[in-house]
């Protein structure tokens, strides 16, 4: 039963990619909505199965690990599979209504969307270093294709810049993999972490870890490597921006986090952990400040992603050389931050898309008066903003609370500055958008009203992000599930 679910999970997005490649936009849309339903059900069933029976290793092609590729199906992985189903499904639903079916290039949204989904699942479940590289490339190339969709000069420039950054990041990662393979003769994550010598790390392997983390940090847009993100996320169509900010940047971060948690203990050092954390912290403050200064609405949201990604990297210092309890808190905080940011940022981008569609301009000051016409979308925008600020009872609050406790528990009080400052600055940029939209001196009364369903989807996502804080306990309990069978190393 569980094996069938796994096959379904791997097969569905790839098969739907082929199907939608062969059909036109409108038929692809119907097929895709059906596919979203199927994939969500399969993801949920797998999540439920793992929640009740525990994690396991899945051998692709029936070949065991060092020779074949094993997928690691544990609580954390299925939690993210589930998150992808929710956010990806919502974005696909939204895109089907939002995108103009008469434009020929829009039909290619669907196959790229499904390949992206396949790549994301590949990353969450990946247990093989090289397979993770291929899955990352699958994600990067389809994401670049989605940004370039439409083929306007600015979009192309952003797409090319994104592609260059993504390719360089992948190669740095692959170079690290080359060193690791040279050392161990194996690519299996579990196998390698079992082989790692208990004493302190070898210089060559330390550099391999640094290379891999640096490459992945470039792909995740960690400060100061974030330059490519705002143009790409800002210029893409709103459902695409939502997918990119909510899920795509998390994929490379997820691999970096997995590597750190598996190898960091042996190969990491206090300095490295602090450095990564400091870059994340600067990213939080700098990204929030730039978000506050942007004149275009989607750029505000895109820079806010740079900031929110910074929080994730606090995992590095907060899980190195600390007690088990603190490390667990840091991991839980990171997971909740990934989930709540994915939900909130997807909601925010989709709501921003509605607002832009309504006023016909991307500028923040053009929003004047929109509060009367589109209160629903504006409310979704605000709700997701509340989660980004980290106010209770949102998921963002729960995440930052855990990170805060981990900072205090490990005596690294300096991260408090980041957590508090970031919250204040994000409040500033969210309220700036709000203030603009409540100005009543607008001389235009010509507002376009988007379809009702377009307004419902960001609302659902924003409410989920809001409610995440209340159900954090059960969500986290699945994440830490032990392995039921198979050698976890």
């Amino acid at each position: 039963m569980i094996l069938g679910l796994m096959a379904g999970l791997l097969f569905t997005p790839l098969a739907w990619a082929v199907l939608t490649l062969l059909c036109g936009f409108e038929r692809s849309r119907l097929i895709s909505w059906l596919g979203i339903l199927v994939q969500s059900l399969v993801s949920f069933a797998l999540w439920a199965a793992v929640a009740s029976e525990g994690g396991f290793y899945y051998q692709l092609g029936g070949w065991p690990a060092p020779l074949g590729i094993e997928l690691r199906v544990d609580g954390l992985a299925v939690t993210f599979v589930m998150l992808t189903a929710v956010v990806g499904g919502a974005c696909g639903w939204h895109a089907g209504i939002y995108l103009d079916p008469t434009k020929t290039s829009h039909r290619y949204f669907w196959p790229l969307f499904w390949f992206l989904w396949a790549g994301l699942n590949g990353v969450w479940l990946g247990g093989d270093l090289f397979n993770l590289y291929v899955a990352l490339e699958l994600i990067s190339l389809s994401a670049v294709g989605l940004v370039a969709l439409g083929g306007q000069a600015d979009a192309l420039r952003a797409a090319i810049r994104y592609l260059m950054a993504a390719l360089l990041g992948s190669l740095a990662y692959l170079l690290g993999v080359a060193l690791v393979y040279g050392q161990f003769g194996s690519l299996s994550l579990a196998g390698i972490s079992a082989l790692l010598p208990a004493d302190s790390g070898q210089a060559g392997l330390v550099f391999a870890l640094v290379l891999m983390v640096a490459g992945l940090a470039l792909k995740t847009a960690l400060f100061p490597l974030h330059g490519w993100l705002p143009p790409a996320h800002g210029i893409a169509k709103s459902p695409v921006s939502a997918l990119l900010s909510a899920l795509v940047v998390k994929a490379s971060f997820y691999i970096a986090a997995r590597l750190w948690l598996e190898f960091g203990e042996h190969l990491g050092s206090y300095e490295l952990a602090q450095l990564v954390g400091a870059l994340g912290g600067i990213g939080v403050l700098w990204g929030s400040w730039l978000a506050f200064r942007q004149s275009r609405l989607k750029q505000v949201v895109a820079y806010s992603s740079v900031a929110q990604i910074g929080y994730l990297f606090l995992l590095f210092p907060l899980s190195w050389g600390v007690s088990e309890a603190v490390a667990l808190q840091a991991q839980q905080g990171m997971t909740l931050q990934v989930i709540s940011h994915a939900l909130a940022k997807a909601a925010m981008f989709l709501a921003a898309g509605n607002l832009i569609m309504s006023v016909g301009s991307n500028r923040v000051d053009a929003l004047a008066g929109v509060s009367r016409f589109l209160p629903f979308s504006l409310f979704s925008f605000g709700l997701s903003g509340v989660s980004l600020m980290g106010l209770p009872p949102t998921g963002g609050f729960a995440a930052k609370w855990l990170l805060l406790q981990a900072s205090l528990g490990s005596g690294q009080w300096w991260w408090l500055i980041v957590l508090l400052g970031g919250g204040l600055l994000s409040a500033a940029y969210v309220f700036r958008v709000y203030r603009a939209s409540f100005i009543e001196n607008s001389d235009t009364d010509q507002f376009f009203h988007p379809a009702r369903s377009l307004e419902v989807i960001p609302m659902i996502l924003a409410l989920l992000s809001l409610g995440l804080g209340l159900v954090a306990e059960p969500v986290l309990s699945v994440m830490v599930l032990p392995f039921a069978k198979g050698g976890g190393g």
């Binding site: 069938g4 796994m6 096959a7 791997l10 097969f11 790839l14 098969a15 990619a17 082929v18 490649l21 062969l22 051998q59 692709l60 092609g61 029936g62 070949w63 060092p66 020779l67 074949g68 590729i69 290039s105 290619y108 196959p111 790229l112 390949f115 590949g122 090289f130 397979n131 291929v134 899955a135 699958l138 190339l141 389809s142 294709g145 370039a148 439409g150 083929g151 600015d154 170079l175 060193l179 393979y181 040279g182 050392q183 161990f184 003769g185 194996s186 196998g191 070898q202 210089a203 060559g204 392997l205 550099f207 391999a208 709103s238 898309g353 832009i356 569609m357 016909g360 301009s361 991307n362």
Partner: protein, 233 residues
């Protein structure tokens, strides 16, 4: 002046990178690899269905990598056609009147087709296989195109999309069929492993050639633009 200082700084960083990396490589090279993967591989070769180890790794032991990799190729193809907004990908400007090229073609095209066929066939027991054969096939197409031979099938129509998807779809269906049969995703029944691998390689050759060719010819031709979000047309 400032630029040259910046360049020097980058050069310094790159030099430091090379030295560190070289030291890391030498450090890793000191001890033998801890897992004897080549040994493990040769033990399992009998069960793989083919004799050539690289083909066995690509299409059996690590076939999931290859499946996703073909996905990457298809994505590149899709993204390529999606930005080129032309009804026909045939570019009249490219038609050469070069008689030498034309004469060369008459000899080269059939020769390269034979070479592609040989590479595909060889893949099972010696070097060669779908990727090399596909590349040679694509190169043949590129040559035909440079010589101005019309290739109407490369219009971004159903046929092209079918060609892009074919290899991937067949690979995927075989992967699923084994999962339905009770095995793992991508596990071929040992009795027909060889036949399945040959089938996959054949359709992959066609698809790889098609994708590469489609990317080559999807050069932009017209100036059609569409407005971005929130901009009036």
């Amino acid at each position: 002046m400032r630029r040259s200082v910046g360049t020097c700084a980058v050069a310094g960083v790159c030099l430091a990178f090379v030295i560190t990396l070289a030291l890391a490589v030498l450090d890793v090279a000191e001890t033998p690899a801890q897992v004897d993967l080549p040994g493990l591989l040769s033990e399992s070769m009998g069960k793989s269905g083919v004799e050539h180890p690289v083909t066995a790794v690509l299409l059996n032991f690590r076939s999931y990598d290859t499946l996703l990799e073909i996905g990457v190729l298809v994505i590149a193809g899709i993204a390529g056609i999606s930005v080129s907004r032309t009804t026909s990908l045939e570019d009249p400007e490219l038609r050469t009147t070069d008689t030498l090229l034309y004469a060369l073609q008459r000899w080269f095209v059939p020769l390269m087709l034979v070479l592609a066929g040989y590479l595909l066939w060889a893949g099972a027991d010696r070097p060669g296989g779908a990727f090399q054969a596909g590349a040679v096939l694509a190169a043949t197409g590129v040559m035909m195109r440079l010589g101005g031979i019309p290739m109407d099938f490369l219009r971004p129509g159903t046929l092209l999309r079918l060609g892009l998807a074919l290899g991937f779809a067949v690979f995927l269906l075989i992967a699923l069929a084994s999962a339905i049969g009770g095995g793992a995703f991508l596990a071929y029944p040992p009795a027909v492993a060889k036949q399945l691998i040959v089938l996959i390689e054949t359709v992959l050759t066609l698809s790889i050639a098609m994708v590469l060719l489609a990317l080559f010819v999807s050069a932009p031709v017209n100036r059609a633009e569409e407005p971005g979000e929130g901009e009036s047309p």
